[in-house]
């Protein structure tokens, strides 16, 4: 169970949110450009300190400025896929995926097996030895995803993970995420701009606007006048 209440002053507005994600649940975080989605994930991951609030995962407090608590990033065991992917340019696809496993002292047999599985599932088969800087945009995105999942995180967060994926990959990856979250029984947050994604993968949707909650609920209940569904032409 993830319980988050965060407050942080940004350049144009104050981010002020509170929400929970149940184990096995997938929260889809939506909102227009610059509404604070990436910032929210960065705070959860510990990359940014909130001004106030409290972040608790499975009973452990990750962050509470008032009590001066802040668990180091590396101890949070959060799988986080950045918006810009940030694949390590000097490592091969294989080593990128193995990175977190090595950091968690996995046995070499375990690493071998995990990496092989993920490379196959992600359709990166031919690229396993290729240096990551030589990948196409979509290939990088898949590596970043595989890398985050590999560490068997206790919370999975992805910032627009499907934006550069082709249709087939998008489908495969969605299936993979659903299965993974379900089997590991962990909370998951996905940032996306596509309403279709909510329906396909989300069990709850949180829409934010200028850092504040605009709407929260089940995908099927999403109102048509919601900022992220509204479309000037009327076409969805």
């Amino acid at each position: 169970m993830l319980d988050a209440a965060i407050r942080k002053k940004l350049r144009d507005f104050e981010l002020d949110l509170s929400f929970s994600v149940r184990p096995g649940g997938i929260l889809v975080l939506m909102g227009s450009n610059g509404s604070g989605k990436s910032t929210t994930l960065n705070i959860l991951a510990g990359l940014l300190e909130p001004d106030a609030g409290c972040i608790r995962l499975n009973g452990t407090t990750f962050c509470e400025p008032r009590r001066n608590i802040s668990v180091p990033i590396e101890d949070r065991r959060i799988g986080y896929v950045f918006q810009n992917t940030a694949v390590f340019p000097h490592l091969s696809v294989r080593e990128n995926i193995a990175y977190g496993l090595r950091a968690h002292n996995a046995s070499s047999q375990e690493i071998e097996e995990q990496v092989r599985n993920l490379i196959q599932t992600m359709g990166l088969g031919d690229l396993s030895g290729v240096t990551a800087s030589r990948l196409s945009g979509g290939q990088k995105q898949r590596v970043a995803l595989a890398r985050a999942i590999a560490i068997r995180p206790t919370l999975l967060m992805m910032d627009e993970p499907f934006s550069s994926l082709d249709l087939e990959s998008t489908h495969t990856v969605k299936q993979l995420i659903k299965t993974f979250v379900d089997r590991m029984h962990i909370p998951c947050i996905i940032v996306t701009h596509r309403v279709a994604d909510c329906h396909e993968i989300g069990d709850r949707v949180l829409v934010i606007a200028s850092g504040k909650k605009e709407w929260e609920g089940r995908p099927q209940d999403m109102p048509a006048d919601c900022s992220v569904c509204r479309c000037p032409s009327g076409r969805p």
Binding site: A45, G46, L47, P72, I73, E74, D75, R76, R77, I78, G79, Y80, F82, N84, A86, F88, P89, H90, Y99, G100, A103, H104, T131, S133, R134, R147, A148, I151
Partner: protein, 273 residues
């Protein structure tokens, strides 16, 4: 849109190429010719003779070992220092930044003099070291201290600016994947900045190897103890030009070999993001 025509383009290229070639040639020649000229002034016999001179050998050995030790100290202390410095904000940071630069502009003789005033027998700290029976000035330790003082800024500056400009999202990703700050540093930051750090290390080693003014002031010029190659060359050259010359050529050759070794060792291409 201006219609791109072909002939001017051809001439433009020619012009650009010629300019580029002239530029590269002139810089290369300016740096290479004086060194080449050295080779014209010696004979193989003289060269072999100087190679068997025990003073030359001991100076060479002293230079290489002290420079290597200095470099090691600078890398081991300087790398974490530069990292901490560039990653944290603390009071007086600007002052520290400026201090790092100061030894750069200080004439080496003044640097040596300053070290003497501090660590010399009569020095502010030196007198206490003396009471403890630890002489500093005019020992091999002084050679190393002088080299570190004058050469470390080259490494520190380089490391600082590399770490400052490094794309933090790589580090952040590594941390979320469970890597400790140390591990992140070793597996992500270090490999991706390695090229620049090696460049800084080469500058530092070179500066230490060529150090003269601070050494003669603070460590003296005692064969086997503090007489490094540059000092030997200087003294040698004053009395016997050809000897100084051949020692210099020896140094050039060794430097060349070291540079090439560094180049080969760091060949592992670090691609850009």
């Amino acid at each position: 849109m201006k219609p791109p025509s072909l002939i001017p383009e051809k001439y433009r290229r020619l012009f650009l190429y010629t300019g580029a070639i002239v530029l590269v040639l002139s810089v290369t020649l300016y740096l290479a010719l004086p060194i080449a000229a050295l080779f014209f002034r010696t004979t193989p016999e003289l060269f072999w003779a100087s190679l068997s001179d025990p003073l030359v050998i001991s100076a060479l050995w002293l230079s290489l070992t002290t420079s290597a030790i200095s470099l090691l100290v600078v890398i081991l202390v300087g790398t974490p220092f530069a990292y901490v410095h560039s990653r944290s904000a603390y009071p007086g940071k600007v002052l520290v930044d400026t201090l790092i630069d100061l030894p750069l502009v200080l004439p080496p003789a003044v640097a040596g003099f300053a070290l003497l005033v501090l660590y010399g027998r009569m020095g502010l700290l030196g007198q206490y070291f003396r009471m403890l029976g630890i002489p500093i000035a005019f020992t091999t330790l002084a050679v190393i201290m002088a080299q570190i003082f004058v050469a470390s800024p080259f490494y520190l500056r380089q490391a600082k600016s590399l770490f400052e400009q490094f794309d933090r999202s790589y580090e952040h990703t590594a941390r979320t994947l469970g890597a400790s700050p140390l591990r992140t540093f070793l597996t992500i930051t270090l490999p991706l900045t390695a090229g620049g750090l090696v460049s800084g290390a080469v500058m530092t080693f070179g500066r230490a190897l060529g150090e003269f003014g601070a050494t003669i002031m603070f460590a003296g010029n005692l064969p086997g103890v503090t007489q490094t190659m540059p000092l030997a060359v200087y003294v040698g050259m004053e009395s016997n030009f050809n000897l100084g010359l051949t020692i210099s050529i020896l140094l050039v050759i060794i430097s060349f070999l070291i540079m090439i070794a560094v180049r080969i060792l760091t060949k592992t291409e670090v691609p850009h993001a």
